[in-house]
Homo-oligomer: 256 residues x 2
DNA sequence: TCGTAATGATATTGTCATATTAACATTATT
DNA sequence: AATAATGTTAATATGACAATATCATTACGA
């Protein structure tokens, strides 16, 4: 392939080339359901992913990740964005590439190398869609339930990897903000973290991120116009301080 | 593409498909040169990457990352391993996938989607090769120098990304071990970290990883047969304690 | 029915013994 | 001289619990 001298006598077609380079997207959302509309209380939250029921061959009838083939005129990221927009209607969300899936035989249609992304979509963006068409062929599944299902292709492996990735990112970056309103209480934040990372437990969580705030500074108190701390009693009798994320990205190190 | 019913009347060839799916590998190594053979002293270390001078079209004569096209019968990772083996002769090294490069027009040969890996190779493995053939068309460059060069394709972007990735990993995982002997002194470790992450500076580095060892436990003292602490005076008159990495992988979190 | 006191649920602060950190100075070894 | 390792000290952080604060809701007695 290195032997030609110019474009005209270069021929890639001498070689076997891939039959397609799709992107697949693991769309995460956290659903909230109120425990009891009578009382003030934190909602029950659950981590869910969006799946689509396949129509045609292969894996007809089975559930699969949304995704589709890339065009020559777009990058993989653009392709994934387009697919995300087509499936959910949302455009401005956090989406990250995380792995390639290329094991021979992974797709019966041929030599197809898939590029996996995960996206974090706030439930409020998906709400519209679910009202629009409650088509039974696109819906959210609790992630643990999805992992028990017989998904198409190697999509279970992809979901497993995505879940690992999002858990890692939840603890090491500020992606929690994607699942929270602009202003939130500490227990909302705590709850979101636990929804994604069930093992997470910190006794003195409030202490940790407020007292050490001077060092970390990843969140800050919200003040109202008059400079007074702004609070909310949406979830409790006693009002809780509201916080927001700063745009600081913490630098973690095992050697510090 | 979903409309067919079976394999026989499914045709991927109706669509434009990629002209190739190569892997490119950023091979990092740290070279050590003794300051002064008369005196005992820590060597000068430098982070380097391996580049190859291209022969044919396109970008003939320019330096590029090692890599090559994937076959249908192998995964991307296998492809990268094979290329790494072909270029350096080494087989058992730390290699990680980190990104895909798919911007339209990135390769004049056509629609070519490249998969980028980085590998960490101890200089002792590359030593043989450099003796073998001192061919001027494969050699190590200091990474900062490589970033100044006019590399082929989008390889400068790939190297930049790889450097960012390896710096992050150096601080958050134990990949430093790839650049160190099995048993090493604290200042060797410190020096390796600084070679990769020039900004890294910890006043009480020894304190950090020994006194807090109970909590982190990522390294441990090496003991000799009789249970006595094993030391080395390779770099100094006064013997230094030797350490080794445990197989513990630390869990970092911005919320703890 | 109305006013007031209890209750429940969550948020937040207090306490205190112990551990860790940062910065700098000093000593060890050969 | 060069590298390795320890000492000192004040400031800060941590962990585990106990104690308060807040206030919508509920209970209750007059």
């Amino acid at each position: 392939m290195e032997s030609s001298d110019n474009a005209s006598n270069y021929s890639a077609s001498k070689y076997r080339t891939p039959d397609g380079a799709p992107s697949d997207i693991v769309i995460f959302s956290i659903t909230s359901t109120e425990k009891n509309t009578m009382k003030k209380a934190l909602p029950i939250r659950e981590l869910q992913i969006l799946l689509i029921q396949r129509k045609g061959w292969p894996y007809a009838g089975q559930w699969a990740l949304p995704g589709g083939f890339c065009n020559e005129s777009e990058s993989m990221y653009d392709c994934a964005l387009r697919e995300l927009q087509e499936e959910t209607g949302v455009t401005d969300v956090h989406m990250e590439y995380f792995n390639v899936y290329s094991k021979p035989g992974r797709d019966p249609r041929g030599w197809i190398i898939s590029h996996a992304f995960f996206a974090l979509v706030h439930e409020k963006w998906l709400a519209n869609r679910r009202a629009d068409d409650d088509a039974a062929d696109v819906r959210l599944f609790p992630v643990e339930e999805a992992l028990q299902m017989d998904l198409a292709f190697d999509h279970r492996e992809i979901v497993t990897d995505a879940l690992g990735k999002i858990r890692e990112k939840m603890l090491t970056t500020t992606i929690a903000k994607e699942f929270l309103p602009e202003e939130f209480t500490i227990s909302e934040l705590y709850q979101v973290i636990q929804t994604v990372v069930p093992d997470f437990e910190e006794r003195n969580f409030i202490r940790k991120i407020t007292s050490t705030q001077s060092r970390k500074g990843i969140i800050e108190e919200v003040l109202d116009r008059s400079g007074q701390p702004k609070q909310s009693n949406r979830y409790s009798q006693r009002a809780a301080q509201l916080y927001r994320f700063t745009d600081l990205t913490p630098q973690l190190s095992i050697y510090s």
